[in-house]
Homo-oligomer: 193 residues x 2
């Protein structure tokens, strides 16, 4: 009997996992579902990934890299409010288009789990700091402002994705208004309080 192999690689698995995540949520990313997808037994996947956790970490890194790319492209050549709006827009668009991947980026990941690929996470921070330096901020304001931005962006997307905004007013309108507010805050950061 000539049974060809499935030609599975960790990369293929992660890509399939990303699709599963975006289709049905991060908790649909399961070793069984993945095995099913490749027409293979569950146990067979353990030659390619260490375990489910490993798979999800890889997925998180994939998604983070993708986000870095779209955000990086969006901010390129812009500064000030232009950059802020571009950054925020790219962030939100990615998250809404790829909710499962986005959710994956929100998992707690220990440095020991990423081995050498921590660069992805570093770059995300650099993008934010780069944008903030356009507002003339320095430490510790840089850290404070970066935290505020990340929190606001993430909080918004999370609430939007989890159906937390019931009001009839379009979320996009509130989002734009919040960006105005954030911009204004960043401009006057040094004078507040």
């Amino acid at each position: 009997m000539v049974r060809r192999r499935a030609g599975i690689t960790p990369e293929l698995l992660v890509r399939a996992a990303a699709e599963l995540a975006d289709e049905g949520g991060l908790d649909k990313v399961t070793v069984s579902a993945l095995a099913r997808r490749f027409g293979v037994k569950d146990a067979s996947l353990y030659s390619h990934i260490r375990n489910l956790r490993d798979l999800r970490v890889r997925l998180a890194l994939l998604a983070s890299a993708e986000m870095n790319d779209v955000i990086g492209a969006a901010v390129a050549g812009r500064s000030g409010k232009d950059a802020l709006v571009a950054f925020a827009g790219a962030y939100r668009d990615y998250a809404l288009a790829h909710p499962g991947r986005y959710a994956a980026t929100q998992q707690r990941i220990e440095p020991s789990e990423v081995a050498a690929d921590g660069s992805v996470l570093v770059r995300a921070v650099e993008l934010t700091y780069g944008m903030l330096r356009g507002y003339g901020l320095t430490e510790p304001d840089l850290t404070d402002a970066a935290r505020l931005l990340r929190a606001t962006f993430h909080g918004y997307i999370h609430l939007e994705l989890s159906g937390g905004f019931h009001h009839t007013r379009p979320v996009a309108a509130s989002w734009a208004r919040s960006l105005d507010a954030l911009h204004s805050t960043l401009e006057t950061w040094g004078n507040i309080r």
Copy 2:
């Protein structure tokens, strides 16, 4: 053989679930774990709760009610920045003290799942709006500002709980600074852009 009953009620289950959640995270809230806790077989719990989902929704309502209480008490008699700081402090303190319960409040819950107890969710909105009216905001600014606040608070807590803040600067310091910024934003909300 005289076997006394365990005296289980849905309320007891939910309270135990809350403890499980705070101890090991929301995904440790499991029918099996709960049954174990009460010295009873898994299947027995299905006389008290419809299913796991039902349990988690009840947990979310419990936690939401608790948060409303502490926040309500914190804001009582205050206005302006006092109220904002009190609100935010109560919110963050509760979430950090009860991470599992807090996580439960972040689940997507359909109106059909809460039957008549939707009042809890309404009150949360009222608390926020009440505080914002102290800043003289009216619709649609009220909605926009409420969304920004919820997003920021939630985003901050989520990132803090998930270990997203790696920098050495104390999170509490950045948090305080962000509240200053938010206050300033709310004060000038009408003038921005």
